[in-house]
Amino acid sequence: MRALIMAAGAAALAVCAAAPAQDKDVTQREIERYRELLAEGNPADLAEAKGEELWKTMRGPKQASLERCDLGLGPGVVKGAYARLPRWFADTGRVQDLESRLVTCMVTLQGFTEDEAKKNPFSAPGRPSPIEDIATYVAGASKGMTFDPPLRHPKELEAFRTGEELFYRRAGPHDFSCATCHGDEGKRIRLQDLPKLTDPKEAQKVFTSWPAYRVSQGSVRTMQHRLYDCYWQMRHPQLDYVSEASIDLQVFMAKYASGGTVEAPGLKR
């Protein structure tokens, strides 16, 4: 037993030691190995379990659960719903991603105000985020399924075009856009590989594995957090949670990721 823990510790050390290795292949291999070691016990599983519990828990002023929440496949259908998002919803008249749809359900079913539902989107040490856990649970319920959002409704097509413009929109003191880092293949920032998000092969792999446990942050992070973090790097102000731009960008990326397999919750650096 102790030997096993020691072995795991040694493996973690090996990863740290290998990170500055000159040979990129060695670095890459060690990262893969680390991932394999952790995959057996992806801590995102804990968030998934907590999320499932929260899904069924009576919460909010109306003391209701989310079990009647319509994620696009009808009230209460969780399995497969994430593989069909983002999409247009008739009741709200908007294109919504998973997290914005959860906000809608927390408001309509549980009686939270919208501000309350959006207040704590990303967890921090000692401060869990229910919506983050619930999103992990819902996404995990599509694991192994083909990612196939509809992208047919005029509003979905409009969101795609808006998302495309936003993807290339350069602004701020650094002139950065999403395309600065994600417009070409085979690039990396420091040692981190950067996917070209308009290449289906790459988009299918990365887009479908959020939410993911981020080892560097010691926490599960959602797609909303990924975008928020990108804009932080881009020297933009804080991106509003479930904002229009965040959803339009997801619709844009989702088109290229279509046909991939949902691998959520994933495990990332």
């Binding site: 413009e165 650094h174 420091r190 965040s246």
Partner: protein, 206 residues
């Protein structure tokens, strides 16, 4: 028959004048969505990203691959922004340049709580420079031994200083920030970066 053609022509003309091409429409939509999506953050930061200057607007529109005439226009307008230090000194201390190249601090919305800390250049995020730093990015070309092959004449010093100050003056729609023009780095800091690249003593040139 003839009047029908005329009518059609008029309609086409009118349509041409009043209906914008669909991509303009998408851009307007995107601008609206953008303005409605950063409402809770730092207001000064918002003011810096809500509008686009000509370079940003053109490069966004052309997806960073502008046609030759647009590229020429960008290079010309940006060359006019280049400002060199009045004392003519373009090379600083490569040791300080190395620190600037490693440092990614500055202008992110969480950086406002350290107002006195200078911004970094974060060169290693995108470029290979000194060989001892193996954690380098590849968004930009490798600059290892940049000065060794080019020397450190005044002409090359001016080129490097200008390139860091405003890369758009040399390559339209470059992915590199305009460090000098946008006051991300001070003239003093740019001099240190020039030394990092060109000083024969700099680890970049070993």
């Amino acid at each position: 028959m003839r009047s029908a053609i005329l009518l059609a022509a008029c309609a086409a003309l009118l349509a041409g004048c009043t209906t914008p091409p669909p991509e303009d429409d998408a851009r307007r939509q995107a601008q609206g969505a953008f303005e409605r999506s950063f409402t809770h953050g730092n207001k000064e930061m918002f003011a810096r990203v809500v509008g686009q200057d000509d370079v940003q607007a053109l490069c966004s529109r052309w997806r960073n691959r502008p046609p030759a005439d647009v590229a020429e226009r960008i290079r010309k307008s940006q060359a006019a922004t280049l400002v060199y230090p009045a004392d003519g000194k373009l090379m600083g201390d490569w040791r300080q340049g190395e620190k600037i190249a490693e440092d990614g601090f500055g202008l992110r919305f969480t950086d406002t709580n350290q107002p006195k800390r200078p911004n970094g250049g974060n060169c290693y995020a995108c470029h290979q420079l000194a060989p001892h730093e193996v954690s380098y990015g590849t968004l930009g070309p490798s600059l290892y031994r940049f000065g060794r092959t080019r020397g450190s004449s005044e002409a090359i010093q001016r080129y490097v200083y200008g390139k860091v100050y405003n890369p758009e003056a040399f390559t339209a729609c470059s992915g590199m920030p305009r460090f000098g023009l946008h006051q991300v780095l001070t003239p003093e800091q740019i001099r240190h970066v020039v030394a990092l690249l060109l000083d024969p003593e700099s680890p970049v040139n070993q």
